[in-house]
């Protein structure tokens, strides 16, 4: 007699825990033949708001974690993901990606994490300046994280797209609430398991699954969110986000690309998008 598989229940990832949506709603994900793969949590506005509370609570301590430590944590995520490579490839294949494309996507995802781990203690050296002001002052400008960031992850490339937007935001000391790809959401929740076993403190990355049309307006309007990253091309979405963001002068970042594979999709400028520049003046004359 053949053995029956144990199927995984895919839940949300909030504050380092895996709760079901408070709304108890779901939406089904099926394979190309129409068979059910999983019932995903259909996250609500309240789930999002809960996640913001936690993301805010831990943001300052995450930001003050040393750059070296943050880099090592990101590298640790890469190590964990490498160890579970096959699982992620299978999961992408299950959701309709070809085997070859899935392998490339997973491997690129791992390398991208290592890439941003490396920037952790370097982007500051790249973007900061010492400013030769005319008066007798030592004047320098450095970057600080914007704070709490809403992210609407890329719709295709459920793993690579997600990582490509999360990694630069968190390595810069932000905390994030991410809405996973609506149609390829499995990888995002499995990635949450990787995060959960990678020394990433709870609440730094929060991952929701659900409908863009339901959540986008809340992600853009929440008064305790400092920036929003939207991946997609829908003109109405972009307009809605831009308008709502103005309520508290949220920084808006729009990525219209559909392919996150090549190396143009990684650079320190992705980190700089969710940073604030701070200039300090200090007298040098006695």
């Amino acid at each position: 007699m053949s053995r029956l598989n144990i199927n995984k229940t895919y839940k949300l990832y909030i504050g380092g825990k895996f709760p079901r949506t408070e709304s108890s709603r779901y939406y089904p994900i099926t394979n190309t033949k129409g068979d059910l793969i999983a019932n995903m949590c259909l996250a609500s506005r309240k789930d999002f708001r809960n996640a913001v509370v936690i993301a805010r609570k831990v943001q300052e301590s995450w930001a003050s974690t040393s750059a070296l430590n943050k880099g090592q944590i990101l590298y640790r995520i890469a190590e964990m993901l490498e160890g579970r490579k096959e699982q992620f490839i299978e999961e992408l294949v299950l959701q309709g990606t070809t085997k070859k494309a899935a392998q490339i996507e997973v491997e690129t995802s791992i390398d991208r994490l290592v890439y941003y781990a490396g920037w952790s203690d370097k982007y500051q050296q790249f973007f900061s300046t010492v400013n030769p002001v005319s008066s007798a002052h030592f004047n320098f400008t450095n970057l600080e994280p914007t704070g709490v960031v809403s992210i609407i992850a890329p719709e295709n490339q459920g793993l690579l797209g997600l990582i490509s937007v999360i990694a630069p935001a968190i390595i810069g000391g932000n905390t994030v609430i991410v809405l996973a790809s609506e149609n390829i959401p499995l990888s995002a929740i499995s990635f949450a398991e990787v995060l959960n076993s990678s020394d990433v403190p709870g609440g730094i990355v929060n991952i929701l699954t659900g409908k863009r049309e339901e959540l986008i307006s809340h992600m853009a309007s929440h008064m305790d969110v400092n920036a929003i990253i939207y991946c997609g091309t829908d003109k109405n979405d972009i307009k809605t986000i831009s308008e709502l963001a103005s309520n508290n002068v949220k920084r808006t970042i729009f990525y219209k690309k559909s392919d996150w594979l090549n190396n143009n999709n990684e650079s320190p400028y992705f980190i700089e998008k969710t940073q604030e520049a701070k200039t300090t003046w200090h007298p040098v004359k006695v």
């Binding site: 390398d111 920037w119 320190p268 007298p283 004359k285």
Partner: protein, 486 residues
């Protein structure tokens, strides 16, 4: 040992807390690491590496001569062809692996570092080894980001780098040299100091285990003569040296007229300046750290102390009191503050300087700590009654000997502090920010520590002005000595 003094009314003592050596493995004999293998030296000669606490032989180490240097350089040259062309991202991954392997074996490395070199286990465990791993981690990340370090310049590796490192921070100096060289795509022939070769040879094991392509890093052991063979080898493109100013000058002269690029990190006689508005107790801790860290075997040691006259008596009394609490002894004991002097030769040098200090009229203060009978030891020492012309104010001693002078005005201390051929580092203690930054602008030194001393970080460039050498190690600036622009 019971110590009593005015500041610290301690009438209790520490029980011994020695670190176990059970878990470490040291072979009786170490060969040269060339082309990915441990190989015997061509002439079959070996020398001993000695435990400075008891004069016992720890292991025999191969003596590399001309033929071995040739072999190592050939291996490095061969490896350079593919190593310089490998995908930068993949290059970085090897370096990350080395960082991880050091972290995994950190306890073993710390114990061996203390055994072979005599430094307190607290320092090797908390500073040397973790910092070495951090350097690899930091530069691993640069491997695929060089276009950001040198925008529009298309940086290329130089080729084969010959790296000669000192005995005061054996593994850490190896990391400072190897990590940026590898990240930029160079291959390396590295020579550790003859009194402290073991952790570099253990690092060779890690490099082998990391899967780094053979020949990319070659580690050969020997003394000054081996170093000279490296410096004078015609197929080396870069010499990177940390050590004395005298040898640095020899190297600069030796490579004159060749294509070789050089980086020199040489001696120092760093000023540590205490203003009357400093937080005095913190400053006293800073003075202790500045001069007694690693037995004073630190090129940037704060060996010249300048105290503002109005607080001089207080600072000196507190300093003497604090010195009296320092525990000198077994480097493997976790309570030890000051370990063994690295070698007999260095002990002689230090003792000679103490004699000169006395002969020239300096007023000495040494703590009356009991020193072990065997091995190389020096009690924490300070000298008062000195002027700028005293030998022990001018020359680098490289031991736990502090030369103290006083000053009245800011201008005076700036002039005194800069009146030296060296320019590696300086410390400034004041609660006034403006004064601190003013001094930072006026002091001719590569590193200025404000209200702290002897701080090191992989992201922070280190290196000297004037006869303390040129080139920087650490940080973004640490990449530059290993690249050329097309």
């Amino acid at each position: 040992m019971v110590q009593k003094n005015k500041t610290f009314k301690a009438s209790w003592s520490y029980d011994p807390a020695p670190e176990s050596t059970d878990h470490i493995q040291i072979k009786k004999k170490y060969d040269l690491y060339i082309d990915g293998k441990f190989v015997k030296p061509e002439n079959g000669k070996y020398f001993e590496t000695i435990n400075p606490t008891n004069d016992e032989v720890i292991a025999e180490v191969a003596l590399a001569e001309k033929e071995d240097v040739d072999k190592a350089v050939r291996a490095a040259r061969n490896a350079f062809k593919s190593w310089s062309k490998i995908e930068p991202k993949e290059r970085g991954k090897y370096i990350y692996r080395i960082a991880r392997l050091i972290q995994e074996r950190s306890r073993e490395f710390a114990v061996i570092e203390s055994l072979d070199g005599g430094k307190p286990i607290r320092e090797s465990r908390d500073i040397d080894i973790p910092l070495a791993a951090n350097h690899f981690f930091y530069y691993a990340g640069w491997a695929d980001k060089l276009e950001y370090a040198f925008p529009n310049r298309n940086p290329k590796p130089l080729g084969v780098a010959g790296q000669i490192i000192p005995w005061n921070f054996p593994l850490l100096m190896a990391a400072w040299k190897l990590a940026p060289a590898l990240a930029t795509g160079n291959t390396v022939v590295l020579k550790p100091a003859e009194t402290t070769p073991l952790t570099a040879l253990k690092l060779a094991e890690i490099i082998r285990d990391s899967g780094l392509p053979k020949g990319v890093v070659n580690i050969i052991t020997g003394a000054g003569k081996t170093g000279a063979e490296i410096v004078n080898h015609p197929d080396i493109d870069k010499i990177s040296f940390t050590g004395s100013t005298a040898v640095g000058k020899y190297i600069q002269k030796a490579v004159a007229g060749t294509h070789k690029k050089i980086t020199l990190e040489l001696g120092g006689k760093s000023a540590n300046i205490i203003f009357e508005d400093a937080a005095i107790d913190q400053a006293v801790e800073g003075i202790i750290d500045a001069i007694f860290f690693n037995q004073g075997h630190v090129c940037c040691a704060g060996s010249r102390l300048f105290i503002q006259e109005s607080v001089a008596d207080t600072v000196i009394q507190k300093l003497k009191d604090r010195m009296a609490t320092l525990i000198v002894g077994d480097p493997l004991d976790k309570n030890t503050d000051i370990g063994a002097i690295n070698s007999k030769r260095q002990l002689k040098t230090i003792e000679n300087y103490i004699k000169i200090g006395l002969d020239e009229g300096g007023e000495i203060y040494q703590t009356d700590c009991k020193l072990p009978k065997k091995g190389n030891w020096c009690a924490p020492t300070l000298f008062l009654n000195l002027s700028q012309s005293h030998t022990i104010v001018q020359e680098e001693i490289f031991g736990p000997v502090l030369a103290i002078q006083t000053f009245r005005t800011i201008q005076e201390v700036i002039e005194k502090a800069n009146n030296t051929p060296y320019g590696l580092a300086a410390g400034v203690w004041t609660q006034k920010g403006a004064k601190l930054f003013h001094l930072s602008q006026k002091l001719k030194a590569g590193v200025i520590w404000g209200n702290t001393f002897n701080k090191f970080d992989a992201t922070s460039p280190f290196g000297g002005y004037k006869e303390s050498g040129f080139g920087r190690e650490g940080g973004l600036h640490g990449l530059k000595p290993y690249v050329k622009f097309e």
